[in-house]
């Protein structure tokens, strides 16, 4: 099993470790609810070095990027970040990822840890069409630390040379942090103000500890994958492998805004155009339980005794103190306040569709 450069820091912080896609990662430190609340109210620091990084460079770098993603990277300028699905020809999702435009001929793709190998092969295969585009797996080179929460800017600013008070959402700068080179981007997976810091893996310990030192008396806490999951779910952000995968397409996953039909050919364009024309059959909705019970991935959803869908993500929500979930349901049913029954251990437990994000 792989571990990140911060493994020993997690040990010394008494983290509970789990296997996540072949990586030994911290699932929690002080407790998921405590860490969740720290991120919503103050700040949390996450080791997400397991994420994959794929560098695409060369004269045809943009052409390759445009071919593999559904969103439009042609409008990016240096320092811009773009969220996008990457699809197969049939419209199924290979992965969802971030595109960083480092330079006009240099793009960094940040992909899900458990998909890194699959994605790299897929991008390489597509690169065969472009003589002047090079693909490089930089996943072992980069460490990644996410600092998230309303006071994250106060914590990170003193460690930087540059003023980031004007750094906009979904943009980044290349700068020094705590004396080492890094990419600092205003992105995250919690729905809070936050930053993600890409650095050489061997520099991760230094920056991790500098952040903890700067933030611990302000309320910063180390946070694990458990809190990362409840935080993203409250904001209804998709998790690959749960809410989206190769059997789902971006249009039914409420990611229609990331599919730019007006750009030239891209993988899945034709299939997705057909889906759009015919209308989606099912759609991803949020719901809140109205009776006791926690929805979990894979539970069936019924209406009047008939199966109409399946839960893709579900959990207790620390912010709402309610049990919430995401599910694909029949398009016809996807309206706010529609009552659903979630099948929990042979019982049907009432839930109601809720407009996402939950908070």
């Amino acid at each position: 099993m792989k571990s990140t450069a911060l493994y020993e820091e997690h040990q010394s912080l008494d983290a509970k470790m789990i296997d996540f896609g072949g990586w030994q990662m911290p699932v929690q430190y002080s407790g998921i609810i405590d860490e969740h609340k720290a991120v919503r109210n103050k700040a949390g620091i996450f080791d997400v070095s397991h994420m994959g990084e794929i560098l695409i460079s060369g004269k045809e770098a943009l052409d390759l990027v445009q071919k593999i993603i559904t969103n439009d990277a042609s409008k990016l300028t240096n320092g811009d970040v773009l969220y996008t699905p990457m699809c197969y020809q049939d419209g199924g999702i290979v992965d969802d990822l971030l595109v960083y435009r480092i330079d006009v001929d240099k793009f960094l793709l940040v992909v899900n840890a458990s998909n890194t190998t699959k994605d790299f092969r897929w991008v390489e295969k597509n690169a065969e069409l472009f003589e002047q585009a090079e693909v490089e797996d930089k996943s072992d080179y980069y460490g990644l630390i996410a600092l998230q929460g309303p006071i994250s800017r106060e914590i990170i600013q003193p460690l930087l040379e540059e003023d980031i008070s004007n750094l906009k959402y979904y943009t980044f700068i290349e700068t020094d942090i705590a004396g080492v080179e890094a990419i600092v981007s205003r992105t995250g997976y919690t729905g809070e103000l936050g930053f993600e810091v890409y650095l050489k893996a061997e520099d991760a310990v230094q920056v991790w500890n500098a952040m903890l030192k700067e933030g611990s008396d302000k309320g910063l806490k180390p946070a694990g994958l458990g809190a990362r999951d409840t935080l993203r779910l409250e904001k209804a952000l998709c998790l690959y492998g749960n809410d989206i995968d190769e059997t789902t397409n971006p249009l039914e996953a409420n990611l229609g805004w990331t599919v730019k039909f007006d750009k030239e050919d891209f993988n899945g364009k034709e299939a997705l155009e057909k889906v759009k024309e015919d209308g989606v059959k099912r759609t991803l909705v949020g719901f809140i339980m109205q009776e006791r019970g926690i929805p979990r991935h894979g539970y069936e959803i019924k209406v009047d005794g008939e199966v109409v869908g399946e839960v893709t993500s579900g959990s207790y929500s620390p912010t709402l103190d309610e049990n919430i979930g995401l599910a694909y349901v029949d398009k016809k049913l996807a309206e706010e306040d529609t009552e659903l029954d979630v099948c929990i251990r042979k019982r049907e437990v009432k839930a109601k569709i809720f407009k996402t994000p939950f908070i």
């Binding site: 458990g226 006791r292 019970g293």
Partner: protein, 127 residues
């Protein structure tokens, strides 16, 4: 890690405290620690009869769903209703206010199949 010496333990990390025919059942400190923040508890109805090592309820933490099993056959005489609103009591006080059910034991001989505190401690070390 607390392992009181007046209780019996199962390999699935339940404890039982026995006083004549009356017994109280809960999960161990180790179990609550492993589960993390407990946010949901499902318990049986009073008067239900459950056999030894049969499932009698469900405990859910933020991340995990976990069945709980009867340390000994018996009839449910009381369930801890307070856990419905405050499941976190299991984390805070697993051998006290975080108890799950009270039962009337059918056959005291079944207790021989359980571990005492010394055996349970050794079991945890092996695990």
């Amino acid at each position: 890690m607390s392992i009181p010496n007046d209780l019996f333990y199962t390999e699935n990390h339940e404890w039982i405290s026995v006083d004549g025919k009356d017994a109280v059942v809960g999960i161990t400190d180790h179990a609550q620690e492993e589960l993390g923040d407990i946010v949901f508890v499902e318990l049986p109805s009073v008067e239900e009869e459950v056999d030894q090592f049969e499932e009698f309820g469900v405990i859910e933490s933020v991340k995990a769903v976990s069945d709980v099993f009867m340390p000994a056959s018996g009839v449910i005489v009381e369930v801890n209703e307070e856990l419905m609103d405050r499941p976190e009591l299991i984390n805070e006080d697993p051998y006290g206010s975080g108890w799950l059910i009270k039962i009337e034991i059918k056959d005291k001989d079944e207790l021989e199949e359980l571990m005492d505190s010394t055996e349970y401690e050794a079991f945890l070390e092996e695990e």
